[in-house]
Amino acid sequence: MLLNAVMAGLLLGGFYAAVTVGISISFGILDIVNIAHPAFIILGSYIAYMVNARFGLDPIVASIIALPAFYGLGAAIYQVYYLSFEKRGQDSLRGLAFFFGILFITEVGLVLVFGVDYRYVQASYIEQSWHVGIVDLPLRMLVPCLMSLLMLAVLQLFLTRTFTGRAIMAVAQDQLALQLMAADPIRIKRIAFAISIATTSMAGAFLIIIQPVEPSIGRDYIGRVFAICVLGGLGSLPGTLLGAMLLGIVESFTATYYGPSWAPAVSFGLLLLTLAFRPAGLLGR
């Protein structure tokens, strides 16, 4: 039971890393408080659901096809955000309200189109489970976890090995220096934000593989993503993975020993504690 709880926590944590990595880029690196992030994940889930129900395509394949659309959406949102708030230097209060409004519009829009029923996807591996010794490995958890680790690895390589990636890491620290390197900070930020939204397409597909989805469950993830992001020390991908695994294990233990109805409080409780006592995160910069 103990070992199973740890394993379930690790698998859940892998998935949480995929959910959070976008926030680590937008909030951690770019300092854009995109609280609408989970709403885009739900949008991703619904797109995977639609493609899966209509064409019978695997949800993850569907989400990869949808990547460019999400990238474009992200670029467009950043452009509006930049012109309306960042440029005018009033990004804090109104920027937050802006993203809160987007969160709300997305959620209500999904309710209007799909209703409040739970939706789920079909794939051959969802029902299966591997058994290694006494440990259960349900493929419904394992596949999203492995895919999300892959996604994180690709992003980490991109951020550390390519010019654009390094420019993204640099843009938060010194915009002027970046300009001297012949890179347009606004363009770099737009790319970074677009990537952060693109990750929600895949995270959404993972989510709907793991559990049935309805429009309002995104709210539960607001606490999780920010808790993980802050725990991981804002904007570091290895930190994000660590924070995600930690939260996954803590939640899995809470669900096993106290019952699943307590799980949402865990992440937020952890977030409040982290903010109060260790705001720099576990790996603190």
């Binding site: 408080v33 009033q90 937050l96 809160f100 987007i102 709300f104 209007l112 109805s261 949402p264």
Partner: protein
């Protein structure tokens, strides 16, 4: 507009307006007016309360529903434990929500503004989880709070009594906001909003001021929640913690204008009435969509709200 009226006469003027509103509602003689009016008044209180923290100091609170629900659940608790008259419950709820506001602020207000906002969202979910798992106040199933048909002491139907209480709360909230705005406190809040670092450097006790703002704002939101169980009759966690309270209490000041007490009042009156109309004529989901779109539209196009637009038109002439 005359901005020079003294506080005493302002409260008096508010009371007169409130009396006229109440007399007018009675003259219509339809219970629906009271039910709809109660909701609009409740939004006036919530929007004004939100604005004391959000508009004056610039700290965005996404947890309106948490403070509101705290007030409502304090009522449910006492309804089962030892029934008290609603005005007393209002005071109790204010104390509970104010204290939570203070604690919340103490934990998070040392950090950057965005963390505070995220933490308020977190607070709402933590409290909701606690309430869902607390069987005494109904847990996930919800709790029935049967309201009496009328109040013998005043000879009023109960809904009119609740309406009257909410009217009094709206006057209290507006008078508080206006007093704060013109006091030393209000100028302190404004320095925090404009440049917190500079304010801190010039000796403004920013943490203390921010804590006063969260406490005051939280207490007013709790007050608005106290009569709610009697109004709705059956309180569920999902209805008390509904996200629409958070969205509305942000959208209303943003649409009206956040820098003065007039903004939330105008925003709540307009948006609250609009919502009552669209809920009846179209559907409640569409009405929420309208709120979201208006919020996003206003923060992009008219960052200072209707009051800002009004002032701009006025000064150009």
């Amino acid at each position: 507009m005359s901005f020079t009226i003294r506080s005493g006469s302002f409260v008096l003027a508010c009371a007169v307006v409130a009396a006229i509103v109440f007399a007018g509602a009675r003259a219509v003689g339809n219970d629906y007016v009271f039910f709809a009016g109660y909701t609009v008044l409740q939004f006036i209180v919530l929007a004004t309360a939100w604005n004391i923290l959000g508009g004056y100091t610039g700290y965005v609170n996404f947890g309106t529903a948490a403070f509101f629900a705290l007030g409502a659940y304090a009522t449910v608790f006492f309804h089962k434990f030892y029934p008290l008259p609603v005005p007393v419950l209002v005071v109790v709820s204010a104390a509970v929500s104010g204290l939570i506001g203070l604690g919340m602020g103490y934990l998070t207000l040392r950090l950057r503004g965005a963390f505070f906002s995220i933490a308020t969202l977190a607070l709402a979910v933590v409290l909701q989880t606690l309430v869902v798992n607390w069987n005494y106040v109904g847990g996930a199933r919800g709790a029935y709070v049967i309201r009496p048909a009328e109040v013998p002491a005043l000879g009023l139907p109960y809904i009119q009594y609740l309406f009257l209480i909410m009217l009094a709360l709206a006057v209290t909230a507006i008078a508080t906001a206006r007093t704060v705005e013109r006091s030393k406190l209000g100028y302190g809040f404004a320095t925090i909003r404009d440049d917190e670092l500079a304010a801190e450097a010039s000796g403004v006790p920013t943490l203390k001021l921010k804590l006063i703002a969260t406490t005051l704002s939280g207490a007013l939101m709790g007050m608005a929640g106290a009569p709610f169980p009697y109004y709705i009759g059956y309180l569920q966690p999902s209805s008390a913690f509904a996200l629409e309270y958070a969205v509305n209490s942000i959208a209303m000041p943003m649409i009206g204008g956040t820098t003065s007490w007039v903004g939330p009042l105008v925003g709540a009156l307009l948006l609250g009435t609009l919502q009552q109309v669209t809920t009846v004529t179209i559907s409640s989901a569409v009405n929420l969509l309208i709120v979201g779109v208006l919020l996003v539209g206003f923060v992009i196009i008219a960052p200072n709200g209707l009051i800002g637009l009004w002032r701009r038109l006025f000064s150009k002439r």
